[in-house]
Symmetry: none
Amino acid sequence: MPRGGRPREERVDAAILSATRDLLAEGGYAGLTVAAVAARAGIGKAAIYRRHATKQEMVFAAAVHGLDLEPPPDQGSLRAELGWLTGVIAETLSGPAVAGALGGLLTDMNDDAVVSRMRETFVAHQRTHVIAVLDRAVTRGELAARPDPAVVHALLLGPIFAWLFVLREPGDVRGFAEALAGMAAAALTGG
Amino acid sequence: MPRGGRPREERVDAAILSATRDLLAEGGYAGLTVAAVAARAGIGKAAIYRRHATKQEMVFAAAVHGLDLEPPPDQGSLRAELGWLTGVIAETLSGPAVAGALGGLLTDMNDDAVVSRMRETFVAHQRTHVIAVLDRAVTRGELAARPDPAVVHALLLGPIFAWLFVLREPGDVRGFAEALAGMAAAALTGG
Amino acid sequence: MPRGGRPREERVDAAILSATRDLLAEGGYAGLTVAAVAARAGIGKAAIYRRHATKQEMVFAAAVHGLDLEPPPDQGSLRAELGWLTGVIAETLSGPAVAGALGGLLTDMNDDAVVSRMRETFVAHQRTHVIAVLDRAVTRGELAARPDPAVVHALLLGPIFAWLFVLREPGDVRGFAEALAGMAAAALTGG
Amino acid sequence: MPRGGRPREERVDAAILSATRDLLAEGGYAGLTVAAVAARAGIGKAAIYRRHATKQEMVFAAAVHGLDLEPPPDQGSLRAELGWLTGVIAETLSGPAVAGALGGLLTDMNDDAVVSRMRETFVAHQRTHVIAVLDRAVTRGELAARPDPAVVHALLLGPIFAWLFVLREPGDVRGFAEALAGMAAAALTGG
DNA sequence: GTGTAACCGAGACGGTACGTCCTGTCTTGCC
DNA sequence: GGCAAGACAGGACGTACCGTCTCGGTTACAC
């Protein structure tokens, strides 16, 4: 499509995302200004809006993008694979940028197109891995039938989310994630 | 201390909270204006700021206040009591005002005093009931020892929260809450 | 008219006017608030509005009222009487309360009833004395016919007003008033 | 210093001042709203505050700016030149925008920087012309020595100011200005 | 080479919400 | 009924931010 013109500088893309992550960690979603991101990145506001339609999209790109989990390796048992999943989710959500951004994204996502992007990227990606783990458990014979992946996803993601953002328990997230995996395995096999 | 002066009108308190809930349900947290609340309530902005230091505090008061759950009646079994708890939580979170407000509150709650209020009111209240249910299960002999209430709270609240606000599954929340109770019971007794 | 009830306390009347004059001298008309007057006077706002319909009326009463000049004694010559007039006007206008209030009163007086009160009290009173002085000069034979009193009034009041409020010359007002009287006498007799 | 950035649009400067003058003429200083100026000018409030620090500065710029008198031509006699000066001053002060603004400016000018601007622009400009006229009169031999320009300035400006804003005489301002010039000439030469 | 088109930093633009302040009225309980 | 205290409706102020647009100038690809 673009027949001519100067190509975009990758340096600018990176500077935007980096500055956004910095400022998210410093002041959270509220208190994040597009002008501040531009200033911190040493660029102009137009360069941001050339890449991200709204502030939300920019934050989404900075905080959520690149959270792609590598496909989960077969760990030999449902219990171990759930532990791997909850561990990855906990690691994903506990970064400073994500911590600052997620609440804000949920806010402004009421009507926007950001919500669908969020679902497509963040949710769908994790969902794929949940399905893979469940299917392997069925193959192994640990589960008689594959449960609803959405339910299992909520069961894994939800407690970690609540732990971090609603209850804000100061304790160790990794330990909680591990305990959660045990309880989830018991619920799925014993329930 | 204030010995004289005109007392505040309860009518105004109620009108503020009612208008806030209406507008939250209509347009969500974003799109909620203090001026619009004042206009809808038929009052002046000063009357709002006399009661709530910021917009966030007002929304918190409107959406979270009055979510007091009545103490959970003894349902005879852990499974039944967990069903009662998840049902109440699901009902609490799925109201239109809460739905519109919670994300917004999480956003602006990074540094504010709102976060502590949230914890004291919303979280602590539910926690009390969680503890009561667990203690009764121990008395009944369904549980050998009382698990960490914070963990159980996260296990119950988290999936519902995720279901509603992160995954945004369109399906029946009550059904999900009931299934969640079954899985939680299995996890606690069988794990 | 007042058939029953507690009579107004004169103490309050005085406290209002005194506090108003103090605050006018301190912060000028802008920066004067009714609440501040009430606080300074140790009274309530209602007590002010029971006596003065608007803030402007209160300021008017505090700054302009009581500026009644005693009738000008016959000084023996037009020149001396003009000196007496300009001296009194200068003294009247150079008080700290008047200085702070006059500009503000001129502002808000565009549509109000304050303007007519201003004219009736402040202007008409001075005008009477101008007329008396001019008539005596005619009787003495210093003037062939009585000039338009409004013109003479403007000729005497205007330069002092400008000196104080527009040009804001730091110099001695009394000296200027005296020089003005001399020039006015020359203009009236020699013109 | 500002090497880059979008330059300010002169159209906006002009629209602000024009709208301010219109609204001053319509509703006076009281009743003038920054928001109303912005709406009338078809611009945003920020564009106003980028140019004028306060509402007062904006009004000052709109009402007082551009009142530059052209240098007074030699009219051949002190009497004629004073008539020219008083005529210009009367014309300047009797415009609708100035009429609405001046009182308001005097009000808020008690502590502000507006007062110095006023002096530098409005007062100093007229003073220059007063000095020129007096010097020519000395050269012509009409005056033995140059009187204090501040005194003469007050003598010319003051009565017109009082006539318009304090006494609010409904009569012809131009006629009064002409009469004033005659009296001033008599005072200066005969006194 | 030389166009041309899109890029770049900087910052002004229209619009809108915020939280503060002030006015003039009203409402308590006390005197 | 007056009084101190202070809440009430309404509305302007000045600040801050968003997403768009406009400058002067730069940089790569196509001709």
